[in-house]
Amino acid sequence: MLVSVFRGKFALVLKLIFLAATSAILGLLAQHALAQGEFAIAIFLIFAILSINFVYLTSKSIPLKFFLPGLLFLLAFVVGPILYTLAMSGFQYQTGNILSKPEAIEQLIKTGVAQDPDQTIFDVTIGKNKAGEISILYLNTTTNVYAISTEKTRTIEPASGVKMNDFDVPSSSPNFTALTTDELGSLDASIPKLKFFYDGEYYLGLEGFQAASLYKQAIRYDEAKDQFVDLATGDIYKDNGRGNFANVNNKEQFLGSVGWRAPIWFEHYTKLFTEKRLRAPFISVFLWTISFAGLSVLTTFALGLLLALALNKAIRGRRIYRSILILPYAMPSVMSILIWGGMFDTEFGAINNLLGTHIAWFQNAAFARAAVILVNLWLGFPYFYLVASGALQAIPSELSEAAAIDGASPRQIFNKITLPLLLKILSPLLIASFAYNFNNFNLIYLLTGGGPIAQLDGDIAGGTDILISYTYKIAFNEGNSDLGLASAISVIIFLLVASISLYGLKKSKVLEDFA
């Protein structure tokens, strides 16, 4: 009965509905991506639509019918981000260098204006003159004369014909008709860009719908030479190849506040090893990451195995003990970490109260590291208890029985038989656990925030920072985030974790078995 549902015309109709719906959703996403200028995403989505329809509507490849969803997700959420991170690691991509170059030039031109020295600003009404041109009517408060300005002209309007509104702002005159609110709204996209004529040097730029200031362009962009000229000083600002227009006479002086993402190729990678300010913390963080991951695996495995061995024998209440031991694993780790954080508090924490001490756990690097390892032990031992329990069941009891008959002590049985066999079974999991802890961001971020950091000594990495939390700090620093450098470190982390994982897979012979 069930089989018939997945075969025949009914199944085909279901498939077609599914394909149509999937295509429609992906089509919507592609359209959004195109609208936002995300062409790579749009191309991928269109590729996904075509490949899904091709694979499921033809019989060219049966295995692809099973693999395609996974492959598409792999491309979208693994390969794509890796490639993007790799690409960004070669760019000057930090606070102040976020936009694209054309966007940055557009903003520099727009903001490269100067108000007149008196910061003159008039209340204005926006409307049309007799010729139907967009214009503004205002009282020039410096000369006490009413005027109508269009983009090209300025005409004096006799005071007698000007009518004022409730706020004493000129609102109409014989040569001027104010725009309605609907008309103003429909012109909002264009009128902020208008420059109304004032005196040749200055123009009137609108500040909303009710005011206009006197401005003049302070810089000029020469597209052919790709440079800006400061119109007041004559200084020239050229593309410095690093995402900013810099003064040719003073390379440290940049134009405006915005720059753009510029390719600097492998500079971030070389900086990590050549600049002492980055190299020293990078190496210390790297060493601590290795230590943290290694110690975490060692301690959690040791405790898990110990408990598994203890409960491997039939003892009274074994089920209850087993249930209790799994509890830390069942509890959301975020909650556990925060509770542990409170327990380690210097003033009010349960640990200091129990020990009768006043240890500043998170203000001292050694104590903070001990706390991190301890909390990770609490979070991680149930996992190894479970897998070790399972693995112990898989070791034939005849082996230890035979050894015992031959006169081996329990310690010898454990050292020579149980442990080697267990390690053989569990080594892929140990390696996977090492790789997991290598990137255990949650624990570090929630428990210590990577601290303590000796900022007074200029340190940028904390005592418990691991590579991933260190990267996060560089990428999302409040004042100055450096996404390019963070991407370079991410690439290095990826290479390390990928190497560890490959080694793990090789060790467990998963690939060979699969082949």
Partner: protein
Amino acid sequence: MKKRLSVVSFAAAAAVALAGFAAVPAHAAGGEIVIWADGQRGPNLQKLMSQKNDWVAGYSFKIVSYSSFDALKAAFDNATEKSGPDIILAANDWVPTAAKAGKLAPVTLTPKVKEQFTAGQLFDLSYKGKLYGLPVDVNNVGMIYNAKLVKSAPKSFGDMVDYYLANKASLKAGLCVAGGGMSWGALGVSTALGAYPYKIKDDGSVDSADPMNATTVAANVSKYLLTSDGKSNGFFPATDTGCKDNFIAGKVPFAIIGNWEWKDYLAKGFAMNLSPVPGTASGTYAPSFGSVSGALLTTYAAKHGVEAGAKTALFNIFGSRTGARMYQKIEGRPAASKDGASFSPTAGQKGFAKVAGITSLPQIGAILNGDKTSYWDALPSFWTAVLVDGKAPATEAAKLAAIYKANLAKGISDL
């Protein structure tokens, strides 16, 4: 047959997909101004819009609230041309970063709007000489004292320390930071001891000629916060954890609290026993941050074709006395205007406005965010070094002074 069905299915899939394309609105409806705010200001702004719907004739408003200030910041950091707001209610120290990211558009105020605010408040929302929004409300801290423990406000920093040392057995600490954390909230303590990140001249400009004196700070730290053997005397904890609970429980006589949390203390029966942190000399007071939150104009407004409407909204809502009064009546914070205290709705807010009026330091992100080490990281590190690690105050104060000096130089060149 199957081939024909495949062709039909292709056509059907394409038709549904095209229908999907047609169903997507190309843009939001014209004349809609989108304002982003945090979880407290957003709903209150929504109430303001429902009370008066013609702030800008012909425009409607869409208020998007985020659960917290951090969530709002994260959303703004990730905003795109299509998703970004036209106006955002943000912290003043976001201005330099957001301006550098090309997300903020400058505004020029009419004299009528300008006269509502102090030069310092406008300076708070400026970067490289350009103003990016209008001040909305003031965020500051004040020092509250427990009248059941101490009868009157302390005259000097030493008075507080003396009281603590005399009653140490029954107290957890003398003065702690309950609001604003160990950098923003604790500024008053550090300035009382002489550790200024910068000073402001009478004309409102930054005083670069009078940096922090490390020797004075080290001497004050030793005198007021340490014992003779260089360990913390317990008066001022290096962490803000538990401060609020301990103050409320009567275990700490003095606490620095934020104006946004006053109602919690009111609910616990505390009166407005509020003052700035006293200085080391009797009758003097130490500055704390008095920063403004701002309604900032974004560059997205121009991309959405509502720039003029959004600017007008800024002037009509936040730049007018009517708008500010109406909004703060709902929001309940001290309004960011010269006469904000006169129309603050609660005694608590009037009290904080008074504290800000006695002494406050504008929060200048370009200086505080620093170059290598920010003020936000350096000050907590200083507290830890001298109060927890027991390091020599002279050495640590010298390091702090060096950081402040470097940040001041970098900030001034950046302003």
